[in-house]
């Protein structure tokens, strides 16, 4: 398996660009700050991926996460630090009681729900299928409006109130599961983060994000809302969620996701090509819709 396909963030570059373009000065600051930090992360990870590929290195060993832990969860507080400060200070380990910090508990619970889904439905033991520890860091950056999988762990910003409500990025299990699924994709199909493979990478994360939520709520595909990031939008966005797989392009007033190939377009940059008007989650996430019952079984990442 080639290293690669790290995936990225819950808020896409084109959405952040649209907010920057349309919003008031404070919206623009929030979008650009998040965009800059997200772009730096992508560049760093792409460099790492290339290096690992050139060296022919085992990415897990190289990143120091070969330890098998039975999917043990550990949550850290990075206390507004950046990538070089990760993971931060350990605040809650597996089996520890809840702490005062809501974000810590939500990250812990969301990782647990995601783990349980993959184990119960696909008999997959954690992200790598071998019991990899689930590491999360909360309070990343300052007013950072994104959540991401950095190649080896989950990272959550606090939200600025503009793109996401404060504390919103750990509120939805579908957002958490979306990001953790980037880890699954990275360690299985390793879809490149560009053009159609990149769009598929994002789409798969949205589908499994929703499936984890459905599994948790014991919903059928027909009962599910198929929304990603419902109820966590900040003041710069108007709508019910970040994306909708049931009705692509309708989740909020800047949602430009296409519902079919006729609206699909590759974006010109690698970073943006996974998330543009028309691309990613549109075509490839629609399949669950008509297929009722248990679409994940049909469409998904079987761990077996």
């Amino acid at each position: 398996m080639a290293p690669g396909g790290l995936g990225c963030c819950i808020a896409s570059p084109d959405l952040l660009a649209a907010v920057a373009e349309r919003g008031d000065p404070e919206d623009r600051r929030a979008a650009l700050r998040t965009q800059a930090a997200s772009a730096a992360l992508r560049a760093q990870r792409n460099a790492l991926t290339r290096l690992l590929r050139e060296l022919g290195a085992d990415p897990e060993a190289a990143l120091g996460r070969a330890t098998r832990t039975g999917g043990r969860r550990t949550v850290y507080d990075v206390d507004h630090g950046g990538e070089s400060d990760l993971p931060g200070k350990k605040v809650r380990g597996e089996g520890d009681p809840p702490v005062a910090d809501t974000a810590v508990n939500e990250a812990y619970d969301g990782a647990g729900l995601t783990y349980r889904f993959y184990k119960a439905v696909y008999d997959r033991d954690s992200i790598d299928g071998k019991g990899m520890e689930l590491v999360s860091s909360v309070h990343y950056g300052t007013d950072f409006d994104n959540a991401f999988w950095n190649g080896s762990q989950m990272v959550y910003g606090d939200g600025s109130g503009r793109i996401f409500v404060r504390g919103g990025l750990t509120k939805d299990v579908d957002v958490i599961a979306h990001e953790l699924t980037h880890g699954v994709t990275q360690l299985t199909a390793a879809l490149e983060y560009s053009k159609q493979p990149g769009a598929l990478n994002e789409s798969i994360s949205d589908v499994f994000g929703s499936l984890v939520k459905q599994h948790h709520l014991k919903q059928t595909a027909d009962q599910a809302d198929w929304l990603i990031g419902a109820g966590i939008l900040g003041s710069a966005l108007h709508g019910q969620a970040l994306r909708s797989m049931k009705a692509p392009g309708t989740a909020n007033d800047l949602d430009r996701q296409a519902g079919s190939m006729s609206g699909y377009a590759d974006l010109t940059t690698t970073a943006a090509s996974t998330s543009t008007p028309g691309s990613p989650t549109g075509p490839s996430t629609s399949p669950p819709r008509p297929s009722a019952a248990t679409p994940g079984r049909r469409l998904g990442a079987s761990g077996t």
Partner: protein
């Protein structure tokens, strides 16, 4: 199975359609409603 056995770094939408249809057929049968639903969905969104 789609992610672990079929798709690879450069897979495109068509490859994903083929893979999910094949996996649905493996899991539920070639004439199954499930396989038809997956195939129909990819057609509906214009990939097939």
């Amino acid at each position: 199975m789609t992610l672990t056995q079929h798709l690879e770094p450069t897979s495109d939408f068509r490859a994903a359609a083929d893979a999910t249809i094949a996996v649905a057929g493996d899991l539920f049968g070639a004439a199954s409603q499930e396989r038809q639903a997956v195939s129909g969905a990819w057609k509906e969104v214009g990939v097939l």
